[in-house]
């Protein structure tokens, strides 16, 4: 039982990070940026490149990778989404172009590193320590700790800092924010950077805990989207609740019908929510759902 709860916590932590990054960017730019699947998966590949191929120390490699992922996120936004926004492109156009971006970059990674599973586990494989009868490895403790830290930091940033205020303003009304002298493009820049970094960290932690392959990003992102929709768009407590809910549902599902059905379970939950309660647990009513 203790092991079961621990496993749920570990899964929920990795989901919560993706969900957090994704909800931050969705509330400012208002479209499903599928290129985040690439940012998630790019992190660990940069670690691999810097650490194994270029000989950087692991910690430095991780730090640099996270920054690189953040920069790529900002670069994509500047080169592709900003010109589209300027032309008043619809959420569908933005989504389709992000899909194209994802397809390109994912295949570049496949070309360079191959499609097979790669492990970036470092040191020797640990047994894991016993806490209240549950086995947990140090990387898993780090995963849980970092996701709690990320939740707290992001909530604080959003609530108390000027940039957080600006993000909230832009997400509730870009025009009004512009009128009151906030440059919405600058706000989107910082929101993109922050969310890319969060998603990049999530990818690296998951890759160290399990392993990595070029398609890991899409699964993670989809789970992230499920959490954001289930929890309610734009609500950090909602994301946490959604991640715990989805984590439990997936582990229960694995226990009852088998691990190969994990994705299907997540998406059945998503469909149920979209049909019955499209605003999620804690979100506000959305315009895109006609109840």
């Amino acid at each position: 039982m203790a092991q079961f709860i621990t496993n749920i916590l570990i899964t929920a932590s990795s989901i919560v990070l993706v969900g957090l990054g994704f909800s931050l960017i969705y509330r400012t730019t208002k479209f499903f940026d599928l290129a985040y699947a690439f940012l998630f998966m790019a992190g660990p590949y940069f670690v691999l490149l810097l650490n194994s191929h270029l000989g950087f120390v692991l910690h430095l490699a991780v730090f640099l990778s996270v920054i690189i992922v953040g920069l790529i996120g900002v670069l994509l936004d500047t080169l592709i989404y900003r010109p589209l926004r300027r032309r008043n492109a619809s959420a569908l156009v933005l989504l389709l172009s992000s899909l194209g971006v994802y397809v390109i970059l994912q295949n570049v990674i496949s070309l360079v590193f191959g499609d097979e599973n790669i492990s970036i586990r470092f040191g020797k494989i640990e047994q894991g320590i016993n806490i209240l009868g549950a086995k947990i490895t140090s990387i898993q403790i780090l995963l849980i700790g970092l996701s709690v830290a990320a939740i707290v930091t992001t909530s604080m940033l959003i609530r108390y800092t000027r940039i957080g205020l600006a993000i909230r303003a832009v997400s509730s009304s870009p025009e009004l924010a512009n009128v009151s002298g906030m440059q919405s493009e600058r706000v989107i820049f910082w929101a993109t950077f922050m969310s890319s970094i969060i998603v990049g960290i999530a990818g690296i932690l998951v890759a160290i805990d399990v392993n990595m392959n070029p398609t890991m990003g899409m699964n993670a992102l989809m789970v992230g989207i499920v959490v954001v929709l289930v929890g309610g768009m734009g609500s950090i407590p909602g994301v946490v609740l959604g991640a715990l809910f989805l984590g439990s549902a997936q582990h229960l599902g694995v226990w009852v019908i088998g691990s190969q059905w994990q994705d299907a379970i997540a998406f059945v939950i998503l469909l149920a929510f979209l049909l019955i309660k499209p605003e999620g647990f804690m979100g506000k009513k959305i315009r895109k759902a006609t109840a």
Binding site: L92, V93, L111, F267
Partner: protein
């Protein structure tokens, strides 16, 4: 010669797929990432019936159309409640769930190993075994579906679809049962995609889930977008361009292990480029902008 026939057959299959998606996404404005699922269900129904029941080709194709149409109705239903990108995510969910079933229900679908040995189709006592025979068969279905799609978009039914795309509330106010139209266009589109699936599975005579992934759905969307959403000839042109273009890579001597990735990079690039500079494609009438965003 065989090679050219093979390319033509592939073009035919993608023409069917993109015309059917064009009805849903181009004319009605319901962007769907579930098209490979309809394609796959059609293919699997025909394969399983041919292998287990030894039923004739025409019976299989009818059953495939019906079952895929039913799935189409299921995918269409969320469009009554959610719109735009939310709906895209819902269709994505259907795609992932369908793939999961094809891939994991090993005892029924053969799982990732696939099902070999699908027999050659026999129509009115005529067994089709050559490439040329398949090309004629697929050409016939292409023509049929092109004609159907032409009739549909010219009809009052088609005008309502376009009205839903341009302004759903207006269509509703004009007394149209928008819900029924949306579900029906999904049934029609899914049924047509099933025909492509049946053609594919008889032609290749082997089936596995890897042909019906999310990536395949994205590819079909790219075909529609490059050709031009909401135009009659757009999908035809898109299918020719997107099937032939990667084949050209073969001639510049690209090794085969990178070819698959380069092919995907190519159509991902086309998708981004068209969205940025020409969202209505070569011939399209619709650029995925809703009425309010255009104003």
């Amino acid at each position: 010669m065989e090679y050219i026939l093979h390319i033509l057959i592939l073009i035919g299959i993608y023409i069917i797929l993109s015309i059917s998606l064009n009805l849903i996404a181009g004319y009605t404005g319901l962007l769907s990432i579930a098209h490979a699922a309809f394609y796959g269900i059609g293919a699997y129904v025909a394969a399983l019936m041919a292998l287990n029941l030894h039923s004739p080709f025409l019976v299989n194709i009818v059953c495939a159309i019906i079952l895929s149409g039913l799935l189409g109705a299921m995918v269409g239903i969320p469009s009554l409640r959610i719109r735009d990108d939310y709906f895209v995510i819902a269709t994505f969910a259907f795609q992932v769930i369908s793939f999961s079933i094809l891939n994991n229900w090993v005892s029924f679908t053969g799982g990732p190993m696939g099902l070999p040995g699908i027999p050659q189709p026999t129509i009115f006592g005529l067994t089709i075994s050559s490439h040329l025979g398949f090309l004629l068969l697929i050409g016939f279905f292409c023509a049929l579906i092109f004609w159907l799609s032409h009739r549909i978009v010219q009809s009052p039914f088609g005008r309502v679809l376009k009205a839903i795309r341009e302004d759903e509330v207006f269509a509703q106010a004009a007394g149209k049962n928008v819900a029924a139209f949306k579900v029906l266009v999904f049934v029609i589109g899914a049924g047509m995609a099933a025909i492509a699936g049946v053609m594919y599975v008889y032609y290749i005579s082997f089936i596995d889930p890897s042909s019906f992934t999310v990536m395949e759905s994205i590819f079909i969307i790219s075909v529609v977008i490059v050709g031009g959403a909401g135009s009659l000839w757009g999908p035809v042109i898109g299918a020719v361009v997107l099937v032939v273009l990667p084949e050209l890579l073969r001639f510049i001597g690209l090794p085969s292990f990178v070819a698959a990735n380069v092919r995907q990079i190519l159509y991902g690039g086309l998708l981004v480029a068209f969205m940025m500079w020409r969202p209505h494609g070569f011939l399209g009438k619709y650029a995925f902008q809703s009425g309010e965003a255009r104003e």
